[in-house]
Each structure stands twice: as structure tokens, then as C-alpha cells.
């Protein structure tokens, strides 16, 4: 238990809009152990990014609000702590990198300035020291000619370089936890491979505790230790990656894995999960997945499925396993 | 003949004219903006006033020195008359009457009638001058974007030159040289005011030109004229409406400012002229300066509210 570095319990983040209440995160629990890579998996709009933003309190406060839950880090509840405490944790203890590096970086400041700004804020170094640290990081990320790169503006870098610069910036204060929000989604395949290599190194060299958000099961298989499958703002299955891929218990997880085309087989049609993701303003009663589930029973449309423990570290929320 | 006109109106009005549902949709969105509705009501009231007001009020040009400097209803001023025989000042209190609800000016002309007459002028100037400016601007802007190449270049250089002229100084210069007449003022404002519209419409048309529906139209054999009038202009119709609504206040103020400094058409009673004469009597007859100014202010405000509301209503990205 004391191997857990970050714990999320009953997290609920709702957005109160004119058209209704969006229950983006509706009761999510998971724990991140030291040194492990936990993948948050799910389709677009299921609440993965909102979960990540909620951990660091980065939700736009009108219209969103964390209405329930705890985020435990270092004996602190990040949901209830003071803004000052939260600011000390952001960027220093827990860092986050975003999906689109182009819009996440400020276009009017050089990347050198943006990294140095963070270093000086948290580590109080002198300007020259901070610059040196920044350059070391950029070199570590594989960016060539770091001297010049420091004075480049984001628009002068290629997509892959921008991602690396953003990763370098997030590591600049040696955080304990790194949250990566779909870092491989917006890049092409070759860059994707390079970025995954960087994450492998982070795990190996720095023993980084990672929360890796993605919808790509291939990435989960490659880099994840454990996976948390999210649907409709709720956790539907949580297990070590080998078990999720090899022995998925929740129909949704099974469906996701079935969707992956198998190059060794010949089929007429690609498998897909029928239906579409639910409208977050009008989530179905009971289990959020039941309208699309081919194993749905009557109870699924009436009650929330309970969490059932299948084996060590493997839990499902499904009425099939009561 | 009427059928041709109907066709043209349909083409220019485009999606708005021929599609009732779309009009209702935009009207719904506009309605939600209370300020815009307020603005529209005031404008409607003003138009009504200008059209039928003159039938119910006194003659604005009727000079009557007996009744000069009367305050509006509900207000009272003091008039001190020096009696040379008794070497005394006799102070009498003069109050406003319903005969002249807004008072009279220094020559005894009825303020209400003058204000209404001024409303006519301002609305005429506003609508006609803006009409000229918008039409010119649309044609130049869309044509420039559509033709591209050297034509675009020349037209834009020309627009640059026209834009650089300080608009108001130019107005003053021309009226100064050629004499103040309402027609000239309207014409000049219209002919110098198209630059902003041309710019905006050109950039909008440029982005539309590359869209697939234009390519499709051309592939179906549409002539240049048909593409411009049948497709491009209808799609910028909403932009034109917003620009027009937001340009009217500027035009009205330009005419008022011109009249205010004495270059207005002396045969008319525009609000600016009334304001100008009011300056002399600030201490004795303050209402002469206050009333036209309030009307100007409210009119400009109304058009600004409406224009802003329309802009938000037409913008698909704004969350009304």
C-alpha cells in the first residue's frame, strides 16, 4: 500500500452548462504505484483528459467543478488543498504534458525561456544555471544543436521536436509523477515510435511513475504496466496489461481488443462496437455501456454495476460477474 | 421587370430571403440578446417618428421670437428683464408648456419639431450613405478577391490610398470647397466610406473562393457573374448586414459632426446644427444642446446594440 504514490478515489467532475450538466468524470478510482506506468484507456470523450486535469486542479472553473472525490498525493488531498500548495505541486511534483504540443507551447516565447521559467520558479536557480539545466534536458531528449534550439520559437520546430521540448519542460524540475495526455496521438508513426522510446527510457533511467492516457491499445500493450479502462466517465475495468489484453472481462474491453485488426487473419469486415459513445449530458441509467453491450441483461439498465474483483489486481464493474 | 427585381433580391438576400426557416433561426438567436432587441425597438420608434412625426407637430422652421427660449415641459427657468425706467431687474419664472413639450430655441422654433426633423435627416443620411458605401465596398471587395492577380493588387493599392486619407478631414475639405449641401455630404460620406467594407469582404470572399461549392459551380459551367452574384454574395450576406448596421452610427455621427462645426446644410435642421446653436445658450437654454445630443447618443447606441447582437447571432461559434 505504501508503494502508492498517487491515489484517486470517487472523483467526480461535472460541467454545468446551459444545456445541462455534463458528467465528464462520474466516480473514478485508481491508484498509481511508484515506478509503474498506468494507462488510462478509452475512446474520445470518455473523461480521460478531464481526469488528468482534475488531478492537478486545472479544470476551468466556470463551468466545471470537482464536486466529489479525493486525489491523495504525499498525505495531501489535492482537491481540498490550498491554491498555494497546489501550485507548489504543479510542475514540480506532478507534471503534465498535453496532446498538441503546438497549442500547448506559448508562441511568443522561446522554448528556452519557457523551460527556464519553470526551473527558476520551482528550483530558484540563477538564470545561467537554469539555462544549463534546460540545455542538458533538451540534449537528453535528443534535440540537436541545443544552444540554438534554446532560442527557437515553437513554430520553428518540427512536430517531433515540439513534443520533445514539451517533455523536457515537464521533466525540468524532476517530478515524481508524469501525466502524459495522448502524447502519441497527434503525431505520425515514426515520431510516435521515437516518443515511445523516450518513455521507455524515462521508465528505465528515472523510474518515473507515469499516467499515460491513450485510446490506442497498441501503445498500452507496449508501454503500460497496468491499465484502467474508462467509459462514460466511469471505470469499467482495471488490470495489469497482460491480463487486460489476454483476458478481458468487461464486454467493452473485449470489444476494444476485437477492433484491433489482426494482420495474420483475413476477414471481410473489420470488427467494431455497434452504436456510438453516449452523450455526456444524457448518460444512460445503470451501466453506461449497456445500450451497446451484446451481453446486456435487464439489471444493466437499472443499476450501477458493482466493482468485482476477479483476481489479484484485476477488477471489473459489470453485472456479469456478480 | 418585377420578376427580374425579385430575382436580384433573392440572389442578394440569398439564404435570408428565400429561406424562411433560416430567417426565423437567426431572428431567434438575435432575440435572446436583450440589448439588441432594445436597440431594434428604438430604431423602429425613430423611423416611425421620422415618418409620421411631422404630421403631428408644429412647423420646425416657424420662427417666433415671442416664445423663444422656452424650457421643456416640467422645467422652469428664470428670466431677468431689466427695466430701464425703474432701474430694476424683474425676474419672472417661465415654465415649459405642452405646446412646446421639448421647449423652444433662441429663435422660438419648437424643439420637438426640430428634433423630429433631425431624425429624418439622420436616418436618411445613415441609410443612403451607408447603402452607397456598402454597395461600393462589396463590389470592390468581392471582385478583387474573385479576380485575384494584378486586378486584386491594383484594387487593394487603391483601397490603401483611400484608407490613408483621414476620413473626416477629407470630408471637411470637400464640403469646404464645394459648399454644404445634404446631397453632397451624403455622397461624399458614401464614396469615402467603402474602404473598410471592401477589406473585410475581400478577406471573406478570398476564403470562400477556395471552397468546394465555388469549384462545383464553375465545373457546372457557371459564368463569373453567376458565381459572384449567385454564390459568393449570398454567402457573405450576413457579414454585409452586420457591417452595414455597425457602419450606420459612424455615418450619422460624421454628418452630425460636420453640421456641428458649421459645415452642415443650412437649409436643414439636422441634430448637429441644433447642437451647434445650443452651444451659445449653454447657460440660459441648456436644453437646446442636451436634446439633440441625447438623440444622437441613443441612436448610435441602438445601432451598436443591434449590430453587436446580429454579429453574435450570425456567428456559428458564439454560444447563444
Amino acid at each position: 500500500m505504501n508503494n502508492t504514490i498517487l491515489g484517486v478515489s470517487h472523483l467526480k467532475t461535472y460541467f454545468f452548462t446551459r444545456r445541462g450538466v455534463v458528467k465528464a468524470v462520474d466516480g473514478i478510482d485508481f491508484e498509481l504505484k511508484r515506478g509503474e506506468c498506468l494507462c488510462l484507456v478509452g475512446e474520445s470523450g470518455c473523461g480521460k483528459t478531464v481526469t488528468a486535469l482534475s488531478i492537478l486542479g486545472l479544470i476551468d472553473s466556470p463551468p466545471g467543478r470537482i464536486i466529489d472525490g479525493e486525489v491523495r498525493y504525499n498525505n495531501l488531498d489535492l482537491v481540498k488543498c490550498s491554491p498555494k500548495q497546489l501550485r507548489r505541486i504543479r510542475g514540480k511534483e506532478i507534471a503534465i504534458i498535453f496532446q498538441d504540443a503546438q497549442s500547448a507551447l506559448n508562441p511568443v516565447f522561446t522554448i528556452g525561456d519557457q523551460i527556464v521559467e519553470q526551473i527558476r520558479l520551482h528550483l530558484g536557480m540563477k538564470y545561467t544555471e537554469a539555462r544549463d539545466k534546460a540545455m542538458t534536458l533538451l540534449k537528453e531528449m535528443g534535440i540537436p544543436s541545443v544552444e540554438r534550439a534554446m532560442s527557437y520559437y515553437p513554430h520553428q520546430l518540427s512536430g517531433g521536436m515540439k513534443q520533445r521540448a514539451m517533455i523536457a519542460m515537464s521533466l525540468s524540475c524532476d517530478p515524481q509523477v508524469l501525466i502524459a495526455d495522448e502524447p502519441t496521438t497527434a503525431v505520425d508513426v515514426t515520431i510516435k515510435a521515437q516518443i515511445l522510446d523516450i518513455f521507455h527510457e524515462l521508465k528505465a533511467k528515472r523510474q518515473m511513475s507515469l499516467i499515460f492516457i491513450t485510446h490506442d491499445l497498441g501503445v498500452v500493450a507496449e508501454i503500460g504496466d497496468r491499465a484502467v479502462v474508462i467509459y462514460g466517465g466511469k471505470v469499467v475495468e482495471m488490470a495489469p496489461v497482460s491480463k487486460i489484453i489476454g483476458n478481458p472481462k468487461h464486454p467493452y474491453t473485449a470489444g476494444l481488443i476485437d477492433c484491433l485488426p489482426d494482420i495474420s487473419k483475413t476477414t471481410d469486415r473489420l470488427a467494431s462496437i455497434p452504436g456510438t459513445t453516449p452523450n455526456p449530458i444524457e448518460l444512460p441509467q445503470g451501466c453506461p455501456f449497456h445500450p451497446r453491450c451484446h451481453k446486456a441483461m435487464e439489471i444493466c439498465s437499472q443499476q450501477q454495476p458493482p466493482e468485482v474483483r476477479i483476481s489479484e489486481g484485476h477488477e471489473v464493474s459489470c453485472h456479469l460477474y456478480q | 421587370m418585377t420578376e427580374r427585381l425579385q430575382n436580384i433580391a433573392r440572389k442578394i438576400g440569398g439564404p435570408l430571403y428565400s429561406n424562411r426557416r433560416l430567417i426565423e433561426y437567426y431572428w431567434q438567436r438575435t432575440q435572446r440578446n436583450k440589448l439588441a432587441v432594445l436597440g431594434l425597438s428604438f430604431i423602429a420608434f425613430l423611423i416611425l417618428l421620422a415618418l409620421i412625426g411631422p404630421f403631428f407637430t408644429l412647423d420646425p422652421t416657424l420662427v417666433n421670437f415671442e416664445e423663444n427660449n422656452l424650457p421643456p415641459v416640467g422645467f422652469a427657468t428664470e428670466e431677468s428683464v431689466y427695466n430701464i425706467y425703474t432701474d430694476e431687474f424683474t425676474t419672472t419664472e417661465i415654465s415649459g408648456t405642452w405646446k412646446h413639450p421639448l421647449g423652444t430655441d433662441s429663435k422660438g422654433r419648437d424643439m420637438l419639431a426640430m428634433i423630429i426633423s433631425g431624425a429624418r435627416i439622420s436616418l436618411q443620411v445613415g441609410l443612403i450613405a451607408t447603402g452607397i458605401a456598402i454597395t461600393l465596398g462589396t463590389i470592390i471587395g468581392v471582385l478583387s478577391a474573385y479576380l485575384g492577380g494584378w486586378a486584386d493588387n491594383i484594387l487593394m493599392r487603391f483601397t490603401d490610398v483611400m484608407m490613408t486619407f483621414p476620413f473626416f478631414l477629407l470630408l471637411v475639405l470637400i464640403v469646404f470647397i464645394f459648399g454644404p449641401s445634404l446631397a453632397l455630404i451624403v455622397l461624399v460620406i458614401g464614396i469615402t466610406g467603402w474602404t473598410g467594407t471592401a477589406r473585410l469582404l475581400r478577406s471573406e470572399a478570398l476564403s470562400l473562393r477556395t471552397r468546394d461549392f465555388v469549384t462545383a459551380a464553375k465545373a457546372l459551367g457557371a459564368s463569373d457573374g453567376r458565381v459572384i452574384f449567385g454564390h459568393l454574395i449570398p454567402n457573405v450576406a450576413s457579414l454585409i448586414i452586420v457591417i452595414a448596421t455597425l457602419s450606420i452610427p459612424g455615418v450619422i455621427l460624421a454628418e452630425a459632426a460636420l453640421s456641428f462645426i458649421g459645415l452642415g446644410d443650412p437649409t436643414t435642421t439636422s441634430w448637429g446644427i441644433i447642437l451647434n446653436s445650443g452651444q451659445q445658450s449653454l447657460d440660459t437654454a441648456w436644453w437646446i444642446a442636451v436634446e439633440p445630443g441625447i438623440m444622437l447618443f441613443l441612436t448610435v447606441l441602438a445601432f451598436n446594440f443591434l449590430g453587436d447582437g446580429l454579429r453574435d447571432a450570425f456567428d456559428p461559434k458564439s454560444n447563444i
Partner: protein, 325 residues
């Protein structure tokens, strides 16, 4: 980061500016010469009315104005004179136009400078605050007031302020004394109402533009990143968001400066009797003193050209993404 293309761009713009200025001078010249009355008419009329012998003076005046020569020669003379700083003779004030301008431009400059500073400083602060506190009462109030500010005809505002403060309350002087030093307390007090008059419209505009630019930028990804880095909120807003908001704001403000100022400052000077360029050109109009009116128009145009050029060049330093080539 070298900006070699900038030098080429500036040269190109300067050439355009010269061409445009030439075009405008020509248009003005044509307008003046083509107009129904000649510059000397009023002066001659006055003289004739006072019974003086007009014929000799007529020839002298015509020679001075060059109207006895064919029009192309007049044009050439006009252009040459322009470059030699001979901008004609002001009949109504009996001095060379250039001297008239030299003595009076400073008052316009003072008025415009003070009003712009007042409007920009307050406007930007209120705009930022309004954007950060969107949907609150303060935001709605500021937005509503800015609507009012841009709708009030500024010449009427001036008259109303005079009515209220000078006539009824007797607080501020309604006129400006040129015998006192420029920044003396007396004169600064006299400038309070004019600055408020000219500045209100500008202020309201700046509040709207700043608010809009800030709202756009506060939504952007890099603002979330800045917060995620642990930066204090004031740095997130004041440094990261604002520095991006300045880009569109700067262009709009500079453009407004050109257009509003030449209409608004002109009217404000007239209402308050400030002896700036607007006032003297206004007086010149009713004295039929063409050279003055033409000269002030030319100055105004030239200033706008320069402001536009400076704006475009400065913008390349503000936004590292922009290149003009």
C-alpha cells in the same frame, strides 16, 4: 534572430508611402484648384467692401498664388514649394503657413498624447480585469459602459462636460491659455475636460478590444500549460495570456489612433478652444484660408502613413511568427 527581410520591406513600404502621399497631394491640389472659389476671393471681397482699389492687389495676389500661370506650371510650383517647406501664406493670420503650424502643433500633440495615455492605461487594465472575471457583474457593467462610451458623440460629451462642470458648477475653466507654459498646473487643469472628452471614446474601445483579445487567449492551450507549470495566476494572465493578446490589440489600437484621433481631436479642440492644428484649420475654413486647410490635411495624411508603417514594422518584433516576404 536576423531580420534581413525587414530592411527590404521597410524600403518597399517607404516607396509606397511616397507614392501614396504624392497621390494625395495631387488629389488635394486638384480639389482646391477646381473648386468654385479662389483663395483670394474673400480677401478681395473684404477689401472691395472697404472701398480700396482692388485691381492692383488682385494682380499681386494672383501672382503670389500663381493662378495666372497655366495649371501644370501651378502644379509644378506647388510641388516644388512643398518640398522647400513653403506651404503658402495664410491670409487670415498673416504669416507663412509653415510658421503657423510650427507654433500650434504642440497643443494638438499634448492633447492627443495625454488622452491616449489615459485611455490606453485605464482601458487595458479594465479590459484584462473584465476578461478574467467574465460573467460577473463587473464584466457586465464594464461591457455595458464601454458600449455607452463608444456611442457617445464625443463633441456632445465635450459640450455636456462644459455645461456641467464649467457653467453649472464652475469647476474647470473652459478655455486654454497659451501664454502659460505647456505643462503648467493651470493648463493641465484646463485639459482635464478635453482629455476626458477625447479619451472616453478611445477608452471604451480599448476596454472592448482588450477584453475580446484576452478572452480569446485565456482559452488557449498554453494558458493551461502555464498553470500546469505551477505559475502564479497573475503571471499566467499578465505574462502568458496578455503577451499574446497584445498582438491583435496593438494593430487595432494603432489603427484607431489614426482614424479616431483625426476626427475626435479635431472636434475636441474646437469645442474646448484648444489652439491646436484642428482649431487653426477650422478657423481657416471660415476665413477661406485654403493653404492652411490643405496643409493640415496633408500633415494628417502623412502622419497616418507613418503610423501605419511603424505599426507594421513594430508588429514583426511583437510576433515572432510574422514575416513579410
Amino acid at each position: 534572430m536576423g531580420k534581413s527581410w525587414l530592411r527590404d520591406y521597410i524600403i518597399k513600404r517607404l516607396i509606397y508611402a511616397v507614392i501614396i502621399a504624392w497621390g494625395i497631394v495631387t488629389i488635394t491640389f486638384v480639389l482646391v484648384r477646381v473648386g468654385p472659389s479662389s483663395p483670394a476671393d474673400k480677401y478681395l471681397a473684404n477689401m472691395a467692401a472697404s472701398g480700396q482699389d482692388v485691381s492692383q492687389i488682385t494682380t499681386a495676389i494672383e501672382a503670389r498664388y500663381g493662378v495666372d500661370k497655366p495649371i501644370f506650371e501651378q502644379y509644378a510650383d506647388y510641388m516644388v514649394n512643398l518640398f522647400q517647406w513653403d506651404w503658402g501664406w495664410s491670409f487670415s493670420t498673416s504669416m507663412p503657413v509653415i510658421d503657423l503650424i510650427k507654433t500650434h502643433w504642440i497643443y494638438s500633440f499634448q492633447l492627443i498624447l495625454l488622452s491616449s495615455l489615459f485611455a490606453a492605461f485605464l482601458g487595458i487594465l479594465i479590459g484584462i480585469y473584465s476578461a478574467v472575471k467574465q460573467y460577473t457583474k463587473i464584466d457586465y457593467t464594464a461591457t455595458f459602459l464601454s458600449f455607452i462610451g463608444i456611442s457617445i458623440p464625443n463633441f456632445w460629451l465635450g459640450v455636456m462636460l462644459i455645461l456641467l462642470f464649467s457653467v453649472k458648477l464652475g469647476l474647470f475653466k473652459a478655455y486654454y491659455d497659451t501664454t502659460l507654459p505647456l505643462f503648467s498646473l493651470e493648463n493641465l487643469k484646463a485639459l482635464v475636460l478635453p482629455v476626458i472628452t477625447l479619451g472616453t471614446g478611445m477608452l471604451a474601445g480599448y476596454v472592448r478590444y482588450t477584453r475580446s483579445a484576452m478572452l480569446d487567449n485565456l482559452r488557449k492551450g498554453f494558458v493551461t500549460t502555464a498553470r500546469a507549470k505551477g505559475l502564479p495566476e497573475r503571471t499566467v494572465i499578465g505574462k502568458h495570456a496578455f503577451r499574446n493578446a497584445i498582438l491583435p490589440l496593438f494593430t487595432i489600437i494603432m489603427f484607431d489612433l489614426g482614424s479616431i484621433v483625426f476626427g475626435g481631436a479635431y472636434l475636441t479642440e474646437i469645442v474646448f478652444g484648444i489652439p491646436g492644428l484642428g482649431q487653426i484649420s477650422f478657423n481657416a475654413i471660415f476665413a477661406d484660408d485654403y493653404p492652411v486647410v490643405v496643409a493640415v490635411t496633408l500633415i494628417g495624411t502623412f502622419l497616418i502613413l507613418m503610423i501605419n508603417l511603424i505599426t507594421d514594422v513594430a508588429y514583426t518584433y511583437l510576433d515572432p511568427r510574422i514575416r513579410y516576404d
